[in-house]
Symmetry: D2
Subunit: 481 residues, 4 copies
Amino acid sequence: MATRSKEAYIKSLQDGRTVYYKGQRVTDVTSHALLKTAVEHAALEYELSEDAQHREPLTYTLPGTQERFSRYFKIPENAEDLLRRRDIIDLGTRVGGTFFLIIKEIGTDCLFALNLIGTRVDDKHGTNYHERVMRYYEYCRDNDLAMAVAQTDVKGDRSLHPHQQEHPDYYVRIVDETKDGIVVRGAKAHTTDTVCANELLVIPTRTLGPEDQEYAVAFAIPMDTKGLKLIVSPFSHTDHNTFHHPVSARHHLVESLTVFDDVLVPWERVFLKGEWDFAGPLALTFVQFHRFTAVSYKAPLLDFFVGAAELMAEANGIRRAAHVREKIVKLIAYAETVRALTKAAAWECKMLDGRIAVPDPVITNMAKWYFANNFHQHVAYLQDIAGGLLVTGPSEEDLRNPETAGYITKYLGGKKGISAEDRLKLFNLIRDLAASDIGGYNEILSIHAEGSLEAQKLTIAMEYDTKPSVEFVKGLIGLTW
Amino acid sequence: MATRSKEAYIKSLQDGRTVYYKGQRVTDVTSHALLKTAVEHAALEYELSEDAQHREPLTYTLPGTQERFSRYFKIPENAEDLLRRRDIIDLGTRVGGTFFLIIKEIGTDCLFALNLIGTRVDDKHGTNYHERVMRYYEYCRDNDLAMAVAQTDVKGDRSLHPHQQEHPDYYVRIVDETKDGIVVRGAKAHTTDTVCANELLVIPTRTLGPEDQEYAVAFAIPMDTKGLKLIVSPFSHTDHNTFHHPVSARHHLVESLTVFDDVLVPWERVFLKGEWDFAGPLALTFVQFHRFTAVSYKAPLLDFFVGAAELMAEANGIRRAAHVREKIVKLIAYAETVRALTKAAAWECKMLDGRIAVPDPVITNMAKWYFANNFHQHVAYLQDIAGGLLVTGPSEEDLRNPETAGYITKYLGGKKGISAEDRLKLFNLIRDLAASDIGGYNEILSIHAEGSLEAQKLTIAMEYDTKPSVEFVKGLIGLTW
Amino acid sequence: MATRSKEAYIKSLQDGRTVYYKGQRVTDVTSHALLKTAVEHAALEYELSEDAQHREPLTYTLPGTQERFSRYFKIPENAEDLLRRRDIIDLGTRVGGTFFLIIKEIGTDCLFALNLIGTRVDDKHGTNYHERVMRYYEYCRDNDLAMAVAQTDVKGDRSLHPHQQEHPDYYVRIVDETKDGIVVRGAKAHTTDTVCANELLVIPTRTLGPEDQEYAVAFAIPMDTKGLKLIVSPFSHTDHNTFHHPVSARHHLVESLTVFDDVLVPWERVFLKGEWDFAGPLALTFVQFHRFTAVSYKAPLLDFFVGAAELMAEANGIRRAAHVREKIVKLIAYAETVRALTKAAAWECKMLDGRIAVPDPVITNMAKWYFANNFHQHVAYLQDIAGGLLVTGPSEEDLRNPETAGYITKYLGGKKGISAEDRLKLFNLIRDLAASDIGGYNEILSIHAEGSLEAQKLTIAMEYDTKPSVEFVKGLIGLTW
Amino acid sequence: MATRSKEAYIKSLQDGRTVYYKGQRVTDVTSHALLKTAVEHAALEYELSEDAQHREPLTYTLPGTQERFSRYFKIPENAEDLLRRRDIIDLGTRVGGTFFLIIKEIGTDCLFALNLIGTRVDDKHGTNYHERVMRYYEYCRDNDLAMAVAQTDVKGDRSLHPHQQEHPDYYVRIVDETKDGIVVRGAKAHTTDTVCANELLVIPTRTLGPEDQEYAVAFAIPMDTKGLKLIVSPFSHTDHNTFHHPVSARHHLVESLTVFDDVLVPWERVFLKGEWDFAGPLALTFVQFHRFTAVSYKAPLLDFFVGAAELMAEANGIRRAAHVREKIVKLIAYAETVRALTKAAAWECKMLDGRIAVPDPVITNMAKWYFANNFHQHVAYLQDIAGGLLVTGPSEEDLRNPETAGYITKYLGGKKGISAEDRLKLFNLIRDLAASDIGGYNEILSIHAEGSLEAQKLTIAMEYDTKPSVEFVKGLIGLTW
């Protein structure tokens, strides 16, 4: 089949999955007032791939075949593959109004990691995970499936290991094993776009010790699996007024608390089972690919900062103010530093096992850390240039009401030639993405998505080899220890 | 009469004022679904003053009388008066859930400025503004009136002076003069809590030149004045679910675009009319008092950051992590630096004209600048400690739905002894104030309210005398120029 | 005797103390080429006190007497005393060309701490330290002695407690006890101006445990005590060319490694002996006073930043550049924030034991932390405004050499009216204090003197009571734990 | 000839050039006590190229020849050439103890710019500069010459254009023209390593207007040209004690005020003469190459920060402290971000005129800006980890003096196994490069060398095309202006 149509994708989500939204069971996510926006956002992935203009970059063929598969499934073998992956993530996010499309990106990040780690587990423990993973990977690729990944456990007391928790289920674990497969229990927090996916991939969230064996589990299940429950968060959406919320009324992601209520996973979909020594490597390898995805999809949001600041400065008549120019240069440097580091991570990729190119871990994590450490400050620059009307402006209804329309049209114009309505559109856009519920969501994402600030710091510390620098310094003063 | 009851205050707002909300004329702000929350928030000012516990600090007597007036009207004569003013602003804001009560603070800030500047205009131009101001001041004080202040003009092209604008009405101006008074036209942006006020004080927003004479106007009008139209912004409110929005469902401010459609102002309420050379001094003197108010009312919000971070760290089991402790110390230092600088501004106050104590302008502006320059970063620290569930958590309805309640209760607990519901309350509180529409409003306020970052920078540059430092340095190297 | 003359002070240093400088035994510090500059700098303290203009602020009388003592000895009893203490430290430092005079400041900081802790040890352990301390205090005060304080031990492996060290002498300790007193051994690092002091006060540097008992020792000795050796660091001085080093050729401090080679301390000069539970409180109480001294003496250095930036901007013709104005405002805000917080610490002082006013610990530490965290960045602003000639300019000799003088005079002038020589003076001054050996010394001091950044962070965490903030937040959402 | 020997290079500097140091005429720079260190440092360039281990990377051949030329002369034609250029700059700087070797780097940066701009001037003005430049380039390449570049004029009042200055010679200008060539007058500030160069290339420092025509001049002269005077700054050197100054006693650069006292430049060495419209482009093109050189040579200094911090943390026993680990990660991220951006600038290079690959200007300037904006803060991290002994430690002489050696050896050891002497070596190294005269020099360089912070900001603003971002944002809200 290779690539699917948007329609086929949407139809595939009507599978009886168990979804709750604001206390109600959702029978069909594709027609639910709010969730359908998320579905339509995700569907852009399929729409783009069928679009003649984008079909070439967004798909690829296997050697000896004509069939075109979604390029996200292309296992990266060199810098060029990673750069093209970056480009299509950027493209999708741009079309998605700064929200990435996610349903191919995250799943393939996970499949690449399972591919790599599978072999290693097999080598050490004599398992056959790699073969299972590859068969599952081909199934997803050939059917052009949408995937979600559940990694972050609910964790309980974050200072304790899984087996030390008050509650044994604070991390997803294997509670039984039958001839048909394993039975898992637990819950994963903030899994994104489960409601828009066909498949859910589940992997551990941290390094484990020997006493945490039952928590070392990785697997994949279809979304209509019995016992799988999605409790959707209401906090990352807004209403459908496209004047007030020009982006988020059309594009958003959906976060769920994803509960595994004694879910049976067939053996061929089990990719880790008790090999606790590989929980950490699997978690980290996924995260390695996924942080590269992260810094790839952040670029359009930062481009939005630059463009919005320029337009707002123009509309307000303050483009020539020195402090405004300084802030715009900072916004540019922020966006382009993230982008340049992302590309550098691709250019400096490492071939693992001679098979898969992984973006340089230090540079990827630096890019992500730099992005995350500086996000709020750059939001402030944009808010500063925009002005207080961001949050004190009138509603669309006032602009349409004949009693008040005249006042708004007259008084909220900006620099000569810039209408009040255009200026309000700009304010609304900036507020929508950077000073609102969605703005808050974006801020939290900057810190917590794809691993927290601390996680990136830790990864840099772990992955960076200080030896050459240490030897250089020793050489300068003749130290011999 | 002196102090009013809460009920009398609320009733006084039912005066036929012209208010629009989302395209609808609001006939009674005290019963309007959303605006009444703002009214009830403002009414806390009256409620507190009648509360036996607070009556003493919140009121004062005039020499030779027994009557108790609202302390906000007390003209500051020394550091002690300013410190007590700071204390009651802090108290009111705390009771108001981090939102200040405003309807006395801002009006008296303006009255003190009019009081000071009135005399100066009179001295130079032979007017009798000071007498008018004092009569009006006594009227407000004796009737315990709620006041709003409209200062920021809509401005059009911010790089042009008022008289250079494409549109002559981009700054409020005098368009006519009759035997009864002056007629004014224009609009002021983001005037806070006009809907909750009895009186509106209007002053210029910037320094003017001789060609801007018609823009040099200050006055006061009751809210039901003909031609005064309030177009309320819908962006600073949330719904009334107190689980999802524990503070903003109960407390908020209301911003309006305030239109003067040829409003007649009686002579005795005109406080500046064409004396363009005093527009700047009046604007700045108001702002001087008002920035002191600002840094006074910011303290409880920053205390909230500290308390929320501590509780969240405890709930998540991460209190002992070094980076968490560092962030909490930064939050403490942020809150206490703002508070200490505010007090220092009071301690170092200047007596103007031997009558009125003004907080030290350099320290006040440093406090405000420090607050504003660092707000977003400290929001980030709080969000960092809280975690992603801030914006991905389930709804109250899911917590109440028996099908899902068990999962939430089981899986979202934190450190031993801390229930999922308590943890969700904490997430909701933090999201409500620091990662949501209201969070965005707070961020914008940090930058733009009471003057932008640039305005504070400029004031410091203007008010600070570098001569002693310059002379010190010259002395070190014997420079004689 | 009360206050001494400068001459008497200098003469008192010729006491046969054991001092080494660059491998040579120094027989007389007052005539040593380099050390005499430090002595003359310290002597300004005495000179100023005898100066009619400053005698009043710099001295005080005891109730019922006429005699004037150095005001540094005045035990602070209220905010006013602390503010005056701040003022005279500021004055001395200004006269000292941004280097504080130290020989009264640090000793009295220590005496106040010994005074407070003495009583507490006596209360718990039945000792008579307070009486000893008071007798010693009166001796220093009445003879107007110059004092140094040795606190920081050499520490060895900083991750280990004293008794765990490879070497038992890495912290100063008691090695013997005789009828005449105790015998101490060890070394203290970077003790400032020992060579300029009459007396050396020694206190512990950290909290100790019961196994560290022998390290719990405080005492005072004269500088000529047998076994006391001062190994002076050569790194904090420059040569005596006052054109190249306009300040440091005239003013500097001297740091020594201070070795106690089995020094006998008479009983009446022992102020702590084995009471390990009071080592921490004594260290912290000293530091509390001393950090207040620190932020008091930093102010003139920061004023120098402001004045030098203004003059340099003028000389270079860049005063109106927006980025220059921004940097100057930041320098102003930096200086005045430190100063305002210092005063706030005085205004909010706590009375301990009803006898001694201690500057508010949280505010003092915030002031110090703010100073230290921001020092390097503000050095950068000053260097930025000054320009590259700071470190690439010609020597005085070239300016005096007729072959080259003309070129220098012609080409290194700045804005019209500003001569090359004056501009070079400015460059030299800024380099001397902020881009040189002394500049490096100042940078290190900003971080490490009076406790490191981490120490201040820790103190804030320890001293700040988060309970009110926590209760406020609990109240907002009805938490009951 | 192609590459020269170190000896031939050193001998070539004995050419009678006019050099002044501290008021004395220097007759031979290669034997002058201080300057010879700079010469020997520069000579490493020649030594390395003859070293079998490095000859391959440091040299290249021309098509069809066997001769090996210094690779610095290789005109970059693609990313690979730029990356190799980066690598050899990094190598040379590493061998040079963090100081770059400069005498090939800067000259070729300038030659590439002259090459590019020459053609453009010729195209517009019908001149034959490109041919002159190429002949001169071949002369330098074939004779393996050492070059310095003089760009920064002394500038007088920096707010005025050259022709507006009080003094017409504040920018180097043409004062006469003869049949033999042009006569130039003026002075350039802080030209680096003129004393170590054979040739001096001179170019304008800024954009000029038509009234500044006489200032539009570029040329090259040998160092022994009549009228060329070098007044060397004494501020960037230290003494030769390699214990106290382990790097700067062996390696340093020399800065001079470079005076053109009516110097005659032969026609074939004139590369711009009055074409004021190309002064700016030439200045900027040079700077573009030179900022790439800058960020290339900064890497080893930042590696030194990392290595020194690691070793110092180890020696002090604080490696496991959370704040230390955080600081080290920041130092790593700082070094590697600069390096990754440098490489990204190469990877994203632009081919100009189809002939020469120029590093991407936005990324290069971002790299430089990022480096410069963050330097002082990272110096602070290193100083923080090292501790106060950096500037308070004893001298080598004390370590050698038998009376004191024992104390130092005993007391200044660190973690078990780390001797006092090794620890002092580390302190001395860090002080030498980061808390001393040289440390100040490094700080000033970070801000001012290769263009100030403001210059980089301006270049980013100028070179970055915001249109794609602006169009993206317009598309999101349907703006049509």
